[in-house]
């Protein structure tokens, strides 16, 4: 059996591992666009910080996997069961996995092609950023999401003055409620980060030699900067699937076994669109653990070992200086839509907890500090079962898992 995996990220890797464990003899080929060996993508911000060595990011492939790097798929022929690549290869498969991940979303500002304006998605991009650091004093970070955050933190650690520019009213607005966002913002400012909210870049300014020198904002303010990072979210990489017969919405549509609409074609990871357990609708949750899980499930199904994927949940764990934050599921539900919110703040201990319920189910949670039991809440959200205890109990720092789940082992 020939397995072809498009994309050498964590989804592809987990699939390869699952395939290898189930089928020691099968042929596995992995096609990857990047020049670097497989690595842990989220860790690249630690490279920027300078807190890890590049080799520490590397992830090992299982035995006997053929890795083709620096080439990319340009077309899939599901009827013929072949994939055409940029370099002119034509790769045949019995089972195909689309694990091409996501690319950063572009922005509408003018002059984004100036030197020292970066995305932060790959090792290469971080190397470029590191090269731009000597001589840089001021960094501008666009976007108050996870990647923006990590970039800002990395720059701070490298001794730069950092301004974070957020279109919404507070950081992490996709993940957290205004109270949590306010705590985060205060913590960032307390540690020397400039946070500007409700604004965006209209135009970058050039220093005369092709490099960025500053940015003019939508409100007319002009900011100096020697380096800028755009962290405005990601979009699934699906362009090469046009005309392939694989159905695509925002991402590649998959069922519980990670099968796409095309026969013997699977998809997993940031590129895949499955079902969000909290939102109760199709959704792309482009995060590491879901990508890894989906990859594993897809890999098993590709070998014929049945495995089901229940659905995904958005979640985040962020440590911002001494503030720990976890969010999961639907933290910011639309107003007046039948969701109920329970929250508790203990300024003395610096804790805050916000729980979102729909009917008798927990659908979202945000915890600030004392986050050790956040996983219990996550698994309760994921279980989609009625909360088995009085809701207020979930506000307690330590949720007693014994009462929540039938005991195992």
């Amino acid at each position: 059996m020939r397995h072809l995996i498009l994309g050498s990220g964590i989804a592809g890797l987990q699939a390869a591992r699952a395939i290898r464990s189930a089928q020691p003899e099968a042929a596995i080929t992995m096609l990857g666009r990047e020049p670097d060996p497989l690595y842990a993508r989220p860790m690249i911000s630690h490279l920027l910080e300078g807190s890890v060595q590049p080799s520490q990011l590397e992830l090992g492939l299982p035995p006997e996997v053929r890795l083709i790097s620096q080439d990319e798929a340009v077309a899939v022929d599901a009827a013929d069961k072949t994939v055409a690549t940029q370099q002119g290869r034509k790769l045949a498969y019995d089972r195909l996995l689309i694990a091409t991940g996501a690319d950063p979303r572009g922005i509408g500002a003018q002059n984004t092609d100036l030197e020292n304006i970066h995305f932060m998605r790959t090792k290469v991009q971080v190397r470029d950023m590191l090269e731009a650091l000597p001589g840089s004093r001021r960094a501008l970070v666009l976007g108050g999401g996870l990647v923006g955050f990590k970039a800002a933190y990395g720059f701070l650690r490298q001794g730069l003055e950092v301004t974070m520019l957020i279109r919404s009213e507070y950081p992490l607005s996709q993940q957290v409620d205004p109270i949590t966002g306010g705590l985060v913002r205060a913590k960032l400012q307390e540690n020397g980060l400039d946070v500007l909210v409700g604004r965006d870049v209209a135009r970058f300014e050039e220093d005369g030699s092709g490099r960025v020198r500053g940015a003019e904002l939508t409100d007319g303010t002009v900011l100096d900067c020697d380096v800028a990072v755009v962290g405005k979210g990601v979009l699934p990489v699906t362009g090469f699937l046009q005309g392939s017969g694989v159905d695509v919405d925002l991402g590649v549509l998959v069922d519980e076994e990670m099968r796409t609409s095309a026969r013997d074609v699977f998809a997993a990871g940031d590129v895949a669109e499955h079902f969000d357990l909290a939102r109760d609708e199709r959704w792309v949750n482009a995060i590491w653990p879901e990508a890894a899980d989906q990859g594993r499930i897809a890999g098993l199904n590709m070998t014929g070992v049945p495995a089901r994927y229940p659905g995904s949940l958005s979640r985040n764990t962020i440590r911002i200086f001494d503030l720990d934050l976890t969010t999961c599921g639907l933290v910011n539900p639309p107003a007046d839509s039948g969701y109920e919110i329970l929250r508790e703040e203990d300024p003395g201990r610096g804790t805050y907890r916000r729980l979102v319920f729909l009917g008798d189910r927990l659908v979202g949670a945000a915890c600030v500090n004392r986050i050790e039991h956040a996983g219990v809440l996550r698994s309760l959200i994921g279980s989609r079962t009625p909360v088995p205890c009085p809701r207020e109990d979930l506000l307690r720092e330590s949720v007693h898992p014994g009462g929540l789940f039938p005991f195992s082992r």
Binding site: T317, R378, H400, G402
Partner: protein
């Protein structure tokens, strides 16, 4: 393979397992000296409290597949197949707490630890006392637990005992000696505590 089997209904909440676990994961290995170490050793088993103060020994289940493992960004969490144990490599751990969100039991802690990482905070959790196993000793928590809430045995045997307990109860034959549910004083105490807890919750006033 023998494993630590948890029977929460037997936990009396004495927290000896926590103390023994911390001592077993200290530099000195002895409680009296361990409490003077810096950093202080921390337990890997955590006795939580139920709604009415019932003890609950909470400990890594060494799940397979392990959600913490897939969630780990630097790939520091791995399975030791020989011992069927999920372990954390402290040198790879970046203390990002992604695993906190992944663990459905909330058993991972983040701190400096004299045993695995004295200099820097990392994720810390149960390692099945492999260092003790290597010396022929059983995990510290199971060794000190005298109420049978944590035992070290074949999971199959534990399952069988559980089935026996249930069938004995349904068949009307109650083995006073063996069945935890029949420890009358303990059950009485739990019942009374539950009643007073419920009384407070009910918000019932004196009228």
């Amino acid at each position: 393979m023998r494993q630590v089997v948890v029977r929460p209904e037997r936990c009396v909440g004495c927290m000896q397992c926590m103390a023994a676990c911390a001592a077993a994961h200290s530099q000195s290995g002895a409680l009296a000296a361990a409490i003077r170490e810096y950093p202080l050793p921390g337990p890997r088993v955590h006795v939580g409290s139920g709604r009415y103060g019932e003890g609950f020994p909470n400990r890594c289940r060494h799940c397979d597949p392990a959600p913490c493992m897939t969630a780990c960004l630097p790939g520091a969490i791995y399975r030791d197949g020989n011992w069927d144990t999920v372990l954390i490599d402290p040198s790879r751990c970046i203390n990002c707490a992604s695993c906190a969100m992944a663990c459905p039991f909330g058993v991972i802690r983040y701190h400096r630890d004299p045993w695995v990482s004295p200099g820097r905070a990392v994720a810390v959790k149960c390692d099945n006392c492999l260092h003790r196993r290597a010396k022929g000793l059983i995990p510290a928590c199971a060794e000190v637990c005298k109420s049978g809430a944590l035992t070290f045995q074949e999971p199959d045997r534990a399952m069988k005992r559980r089935t026996d307990e249930i069938s004995r109860r349904t068949s009307g034959y109650v083995d006073q000696e063996r069945s935890g549910e029949e420890a009358p004083g303990f059950m009485l105490l739990r019942q009374l505590k539950k009643r007073s807890g419920q009384l407070a919750e009910s918000g019932r006033g004196p009228r």
